[in-house]
């Protein structure tokens, strides 16, 4: 019994993942239908393009209590809208630098390229992300009412 109690108290991070409809979302779908195992800590939000992810979405996710935020889009050259992921790459780089500058742990915000065929890569990214977030504990810095 005591062992189970400790297990129950272990911190489970909550990740908000903005997934591009054309690649990463399909990639996560592939992981699902292929019955691949990965941590259930992700709240996926499908967006039309990684380039449509406003910095405000990211700040707001942290503000509403996300422990980690992932933005995932198509590999360079594969964007459904030709160049949306290139814009995202630039913008997300700046957001990442800004979040680090104000003192948020850099591990809490990640970006990845996941194609519709990369179900395995998706499970791996989520697995690593959860593993990195666990030692950090809950994100209280940008969270409201803390």
């Amino acid at each position: 019994m005591p062992r189970r109690l400790i297990m129950a108290e272990e911190f489970e991070p909550r990740i908000v993942a903005f997934l591009c409809k054309w690649c990463s979302s399909a990639g996560s779908d592939l992981a699902g239908v292929s019955r691949m195992q990965y941590p259930p800590n992700v709240l996926p939000i499908t967006v039309m393009c990684s380039g449509s992810v406003s910095p405000l979405y990211i700040m707001d996710a942290f503000n509403k209590g996300a422990d980690g935020v992932l933005v995932s889009g198509c590999h360079p050259g594969d964007c459904h809208y030709i160049k949306g992921n290139y814009y995202a790459r630039r913008r997300i780089a700046l957001v990442k630098k800004l979040l680090e500058f104000i003192g948020l742990e850099p591990q809490r915000f990640q970006m990845s390229w996941v194609s519709a065929a990369e179900g395995t890569k998706y499970t791996q990214i989520i697995g690593d992300f959860v593993k990195e977030l666990k030692p950090l504990g809950p994100q209280r810095k940008l969270r409201r009412n803390q």
Partner: protein, 343 residues
């Protein structure tokens, strides 16, 4: 040194020839030595114009107001508006031109060069004078500043009195102008991002403590937004939109009106506000220092914008406000943009 008479003569000429609607410049204020913005409509008033190291305001903000005013008029006066700008302010005009917010023919730019000086920092000045009141500040040939007070004259070096941004300035003379006053010689600056070094050398925990302390002070008066020439959005993310929810309000209508940030000045909301503002100014902020100057709680807002200016330069080789024909930072990309942070 810029001869203020030249500026007045040119102002007089363009007003007499009715080339401009009016001229936005600096004039002596009613109290103290700090100047106040002046709107000169008639050529007989040009003697009110002044130019000295206390002219810290960025007058480009008034061009934004002017555009709005003109838009509301039924029969607008199509003549341009004259505006006195320093190097940094001229970069603000470049960004507005780049974004096609104003047209080049809507503005007549009277550029003044800061030469080897700049503008003063009021806080540094107050520290230096220890309670004495300065009456005038002038710069001599050697570049030293002479502050005259009731108790006599004080000579100080530029570093002791100039605003931090002037010491790091990369545009000491206007990059765009119709008439230029003063020398056109680039000042040598070793490290334009030196003021960031101290903050960047801190650990993550210390940086968080710093920003937590600073941004918790914010009372959300939005003075930074009001003074910024780049904050011209008609609808700002922090504003509450009056939206009455009735029985027949559809779900789509409600969903379209997301309240992103709470009005209350609590730390978490202040962080979102200031970070979003910093992101909106990435590749647009030209470091005129107005946000920091008008902040009633002395929050060092400049660091946030300066940091993104530095990253834009280092990651993407982008300099805001130098070329009106260049695409803006976040609406362009290069194939070789760094992606080492992407998994």
């Amino acid at each position: 040194m810029v001869n203020v008479e030249d500026l007045r003569n040119e102002a007089k000429r363009i007003l007499k020839e009715e080339k401009v609607k009016y001229i936005i410049g600096y004039t002596k204020s009613q109290n103290g030595m700090m100047p106040t913005p002046a709107f000169i409509k008639e050529s007989k008033d040009v003697d009110q114009l002044i130019w000295n190291p206390t002219c810290i305001h960025n007058l480009v903000k008034f061009l934004v107001d002017e555009k709005r005013r003109k838009h509301r008029e039924k029969k607008p006066d199509e003549r341009p508006v004259g505006v006195v700008v320093k190097g940094c302010d001229s970069r603000a005009i470049v960004v507005l031109l780049q974004e096609k917010f104003i047209n080049r023919e809507d503005v007549y730019i009277l550029g003044v060069s800061c030469e080897n000086g700049g503008v003063i920092d009021e806080k540094k000045l107050a520290k230096k004078l220890k309670g004495k009141t300065a009456e005038t500040i002038t710069q001599d040939e050697k570049g030293e500043f002479v502050i005259s007070t009731k108790e006599g004259k004080v000579k100080v070096s530029g570093e002791e009195i100039l605003a931090e941004r002037c010491l790091e300035c990369r545009a000491n003379y206007p990059v765009i102008y119709d008439t230029l006053f003063g020398n056109k010689a680039r000042k040598k600056v070793d490290d334009p991002f030196k003021s960031l070094d101290k903050l960047e050398s801190l650990s993550e925990r210390e940086r968080w403590a710093f920003w937590k302390e600073q941004l918790s002070k914010c009372i959300r008066c939005y003075a930074c937004r009001s003074a910024c020439p780049m904050c011209y959005c008609d609808e700002c993310v922090v504003d509450t939109i009056n939206f009455a929810v009735t029985a027949d309000t559809s779900a789509e209508e409600k969903a379209g009106k997301i309240k992103w940030i709470e009005k209350s000045p609590i730390s978490s909301e202040n962080f979102v506000y200031h970070m979003v503002r910093a992101m909106h100014l990435a590749g647009r902020c030209i470091d005129c220092g107005e946000c920091e100057r008008v902040c009633p709680l002395d929050i060092p807002l400049r660091f946030l914008n300066k940091k993104l200016e530095k990253e834009a330069k280092e990651l993407f080789g982008y300099d805001a406000g130098f070329d009106p024909d260049e695409p803006s930072l976040v609406s362009s990309f290069k194939d070789e943009d760094p992606e080492d942070f992407i998994r």
